[in-house]
């Protein structure tokens, strides 16, 4: 192996992206394409009584205006379609900003303006928009995706009762939106009874399956293409109504149709992080050993959906506590369905890690010490000891790099001029998934390798890392490897969500590359014209694009020579199972606060992570910086505002919905333990990692604020008014 895996190899698609050569979904140029635009409901609950499309139809360039009366009847798909209804199948309105009509025109501008001219009359009912108005109606939903919403271990109530020290606090976090910079887009092209979709999606295979199901088609009749993504953050994981509606509109129009959602439409079309209330009760011995955790949460649900997308996973597995009781409740509101968003477990973890900090002060034990004291070594999935969990090392490494030993524990004691300095920390952890994947690898007559997999590049570096793996296993330079992703004509591979791409796909890729190498070696040693003829196959090594006889390096030839002589490409498939799991880390944060003006900045962040083996230092560090930055957004500013009377989003744009800008992002020192996890051996020891960084950031910032000024904030976002 040439040792590319692990190095900070620059992105193989970087040049295409910065020069504009990379073609994103909406860049697709389809001859004869029409432009779609959605008309969204302006009530949150009720029924469409009448739709007057006459003015819109008279607008120049308009081809058609479809309503629930015209739409073909579709079959409601299951997860990963995560709404319990398809809009425009009937007159019912379930939330504000729900599609009620679909305009198709020659140009985008014409479609947009015609959408304004569609007049919709409703029978409106008063919506419930605010959680606080219905908290007494909270209920425990049924299983969601085979997971119960109440999980108990030991007897938490009794343990809490007996605990020497108790913490009982409530926390809240608001509704938030993903806000990828690339809007959702779908271009539907029918050719007879087959459908091609140019789509911005985190899962071409998932999208294909949902669409095929909805239209009652065979999966082989639907092709989904998504070579690049301008960010997803979960918003493009499930498949959403606009995709189904666009396919339907294109079928009705008999022409291809392209839809790009407006930014405002993205606030009601693709899920969001649900608003949460959480009560955490911790019980511990005076020495700091956790004896009970009760985690009772209430999430924003809808009248028809009961999906809980922000599991209390860390409560269940992070600390070694014998008595744990998790209840994930919800209340019904007239809002769009929530979904997975940027490290969904952050929502619950913010409460747990803040409560741990509160407990540390209650006990007078250093917050890092408290976590070390309660370190869990048992893998909840297997019931056996983790084979490779290095969280303790993360605490040590990050604490040392941060200078934690110099921290004065008492709040309000560290000053720098007129600024109060606060140091806080939290553990980071997130679940990662495994999704069965297959990949195809071809060694062409030119000796170059081409990998094909229907997983995708969502900005995290998939093209690069998979190319590294192929190059290493084949012993080939990186520039002789081409990776093709994001097309359902390739073998079905993982959704790029739930941190599952690497654990799911790296194994099959490595395996395919090994098979391909063996196949080429077999060709060489069997071919009398090869210098390697007769060398035992296991004595042949590959490096730099060439095959060598071990111990007789003069006997060698290139992949290209073997393949050219052979005259037929070598094609192999790779597959192989892995298991889901967790990645870990620690984040240490410094904040500087001028309480008089409520001014706060995050001035310094140090992280140490244990993602198993690091496949690419540079892209892994990119995940950390991105995660920390989004964590700052979560902690300090992100907040979707819903009007209490109309249940309409009041700030559906990047001017009203604040996300961090560069000036909010501090220097981040990202350390890695970087040791292969034997439990993920197939993926070269790498675990899923993308969602772990950032999970601890909101709590770490809140903990740092407490350390700086002695004020405990339990409701994000921590805006200026809360610091005054």
């Amino acid at each position: 192996m040439s040792g590319l895996v692990g190095q900070g190899v620059a992105r193989v698609d970087g040049r295409a992206k910065v020069t504009g050569a990379a073609r994103y979904a909406a860049d697709s140029e389809v001859p004869g394409v029409l432009h779609g635009f959605l008309v969204m409901s302006t009530i949150a609950r009720g029924e469409v009584v009448e739709i007057d499309t006459s003015q819109a139809l008279a607008h120049p360039g308009v081809v058609a205006v479809y309503t629930h009366r015209d739409m073909p009847r579709l079959v409601l798909p299951d997860f990963p379609y995560n709404r319990r209804f398809i809009p425009m199948q009937d007159a019912r309105v379930h939330h504000n900003g729900q599609p009620v009509a679909y305009v198709v025109a020659q140009t985008l501008e014409q479609a947009q303006e015609a959408a304004n001219l569609v007049k919709v009359r409703y029978r409106a009912e008063a919506p419930v928009a605010r959680m606080e108005d219905v908290l007494d109606e909270a209920f425990l939903p049924d299983m969601f995706r085979n997971r119960p919403n109440e999980i108990a271990r030991g007897d938490a109530a009794a343990a809490l009762e007996r605990a020497e020290v108790r913490i009982d606090r409530t926390y809240s976090s608001p509704m938030q939106h993903h806000n990828p910079i690339e809007p959702h887009t779908s271009t539907a092209v029918w050719d007879g009874d087959t459908l091609t979709l140019y789509e911005s999606t985190q899962g071409v295979v998932f999208t294909r399956n949902v669409v095929a199901h909805a239209f009652g088609m065979g999966r082989d009749k639907v092709r989904v293409i998504s070579p690049y993504l301008g960010g997803g953050f979960g918003a493009k994981g499930p498949t959403y109504p606009h995709t189904l509606l666009t396919a339907a509109a294109a079928r009705l129009a008999g022409r291809p149709v392209k839809l790009v959602l407006s930014r405002a439409q993205m606030y009601t079309s693709n899920g969001h992080r649900a608003e949460y209330r959480r009560r955490l009760q911790l019980g511990a011995t005076r020495q700091g050993v956790l004896t009970a955790i009760v985690d009772t949460s209430t999430a924003q649900l809808t009248r028809i959906d009961e999906g809980i997308y922000n599991g209390s996973d860390s409560t269940l597995h992070l600390y070694a506590c014998p008595n744990v009781h998790v209840r994930q409740m919800g209340v019904r509101l007239d809002l769009p369905t929530s979904s997975y968003m940027r490290s969904p477990e952050t929502t619950a973890h913010f409460g747990l890690e803040t409560a741990m900090d509160e407990l540390s002060y209650e006990l007078g034990i250093d917050p890092v010490e408290l976590r070390i004291l309660n370190h869990n070594t048992v893998n909840p999935r297997t019931g056996a000891a983790y084979a490779g969990k290095h969280l303790l090392e993360c605490y040590r490494a990050a604490a040392e790099a941060f200078g934690w030993a110099r921290r004065h524990p008492r709040p309000g004691t560290m000053r720098d001029g007129d600024e109060y300095v606060g140091w806080g920390m939290a553990t980071e952890t997130h679940t990662y998934g495994w999704i069965e994947s297959e990949v195809g690898l071809t060694i062409g007559l030119d000796g170059r390798a081409t990998l094909r997999a229907a997983t995708q590049e969502i900005g995290t570096g998939t093209y690069t890392v998979l190319s590294q793996v192929v190059a290493d296993e084949l012993g080939m330079p990186l520039d002789q490897v081409t990776t093709l992703l994001g097309d359902t004509t390739y073998p079905s591979a993982s959704l790029s969500a739930g941190s599952s791409t690497m654990p799911s796909v790296v194994g099959p890729v490595a395996q395919a590359a090994r098979s391909a190498r063996e196949a080429v070696i077999a060709l060489a040693v069997a071919d009398p014209r090869s210098p390697l003829h007769g060398v035992p196959a296991e004595q042949v090594v590959a490096e730099g694009g060439r095959l060598f006889a071990r111990g007789d390096l003069g006997r060698r030839e290139g992949y290209r020579d073997v393949m050219a002589r052979h005259g037929r490409a070598v094609e192999v498939l790779g597959r192989g199972p892995n298991t889901p799991g967790h990645s870990f880390g620690a984040v240490f944060v410094e904040v500087r606060i001028q309480p008089r003006l409520g001014r706060l900045r995050v001035s310094r962040v140090v992280t140490a992570h244990d993602p198993g083996r690091v496949l690419n230092r540079r892209t892994a560090r990119g995940q950390v910086i991105g995660g920390v930055t989004w964590g700052i957004g979560f902690a300090l500013m992100e907040h979707t505002l819903v009007d209490p009377d109309t249940a309409r989003v009041v700030n559906p744009n990047l001017s009203g919905y604040l996300v961090p800008v560069c000036a909010d992002a501090p220097p981040v020192e990202a350390l890695f333990v970087d040791r292969p996890d034997p439990e993920s051996e197939i993926a070269l020891g790498a675990r899923g990692f993308g969602e772990t960084p950032g999970t601890g950031v909101p709590a770490a910032i809140g903990n740092a604020i407490y350390h700086a000024i002695g004020r405990r904030l339990r409701d994000v976002p921590f805006t200026r008014d809360k610091l005054l």
Partner: protein
């Protein structure tokens, strides 16, 4: 956004003439606000008259005043040496506005006429008295963190978002207008109107009038001025609370002070009583605190913006303490 016509005018007079004869027309400079409003359906116009080539983009300093041409770009004004030297509050207010990209495009005239950031105003499906007179003001019972505690009423509590306008208000600027009825000059104190029962009427401008320049008198106090902007992220965001202050002291005694506030009023907020309370007195923490209390004496806060009552007073203490060397 509906289709619209577009004409590039060649002189101020021509721009005004075209406006007068073209129904549903309006001027466009950088377009950084207007086009967003049109896209969002908060405004609709049949015709845009481009004012970028009228020859009114100069920045000039003479004995009595600084003159900002209406189409001078925010960036040019912010970086102009005379502005930085003699009117630092203007430069600071501009540099604290928007982003470099927006400042490269956006003009002084357009900046003064940008519309409120109230989310209900910018959502064409929500009621809003300012957008659709008589439809109601959901901000009063809804989300009002960004809204005014001063100068509002039952009809509208939106703030004016311009930072520049706050600084110009502190420095007694004058706005030069050209319209079908000829030229006139309006002191900035009279330029922005309180919402009263007609929040749709934001300025004293008459239909078809063009801003041609903004004058700022040269005063010694302007040279000792600052802009303090508090917002919800480090940059690229409108003010939660802002203060433009200019101060001249002799010994410790306040000779002259000019104060205007952003983020708290339905227009750039100036209250001469606050300045009077400081003038002629030694600048002390006590004196500033008293002035601050006067400022918010008539404040009417709402659920989401109650904190501004305290914050604006603290901001006043902070900026005057800095300017007056109290720390």
């Amino acid at each position: 956004m509906r289709a619209f016509g577009y004409t590039v005018a060649g002189s101020p007079a021509e721009a005004v003439r075209i406006a007068a004869r073209t129904p549903d027309s309006t001027f466009v400079a950088g377009g950084t606000d207007l086009l967003n409003l049109m896209r969002d359906g908060a405004e609709a116009h049949d015709h845009l008259i481009d004012v970028n080539r009228l020859g009114i983009g100069e920045v000039a300093l003479d004995r009595r005043r600084l003159r900002l041409g209406a189409t001078a770009r925010m960036r040019r004004v912010a970086e102009h040496p005379a502005v930085r030297r003699e009117f630092p509050v203007l430069s600071e207010a501009l540099l604290a506005s928007a982003s470099p990209q927006v400042r490269n495009m956006a003009s002084i005239g357009g900046n003064l006429l940008q519309r409120t950031r109230c989310g209900y105003f910018r959502d064409s499906a929500s009621p809003c008295n300012k957008r659709v007179p008589g439809s109601g003001c959901p901000a009063i019972t809804g989300h009002n963190r960004g809204h005014a505690i001063l100068g509002g009423g039952d009809h509208c509590i939106a703030t004016h978002p311009s930072d520049l306008a706050v600084a110009l208000t502190a420095l007694d600027a004058t706005v030069g207008l050209l319209g079908p009825g000829g030229e006139r000059a309006v002191p900035i104190a009279d330029f922005y109107l309180l919402p009263g029962s007609t929040p749709e009427q934001e300025t004293a401008m008459r239909p078809g009038e063009l801003i041609t320049w903004v004058d700022v008198p040269r005063t010694s106090v302007a040279g000792h001025s600052r802009y303090l902007k508090l917002r919800d992220r480090a940059t690229f965001e409108f003010a939660v609370v802002s203060v433009a202050a200019a101060l001249r002291t002799r010994g410790r005694v306040v000779q002259d002070v000019r104060l205007a506030f952003g983020g708290v009023g339905t227009r750039p907020w100036r209250d001469l009583r606050v300045e009077a309370a400081l003038r002629g007195r030694p600048l002390t923490g006590q004196a500033i605190a008293e002035a601050g209390r006067l400022l918010v004496a008539d404040a009417k806060p709402y659920e989401g913006n109650r904190f501004k009552v305290e914050l604006v007073q603290r901001a006043l203490v902070s900026i005057l303490s800095d300017l007056g060397g109290l720390r």
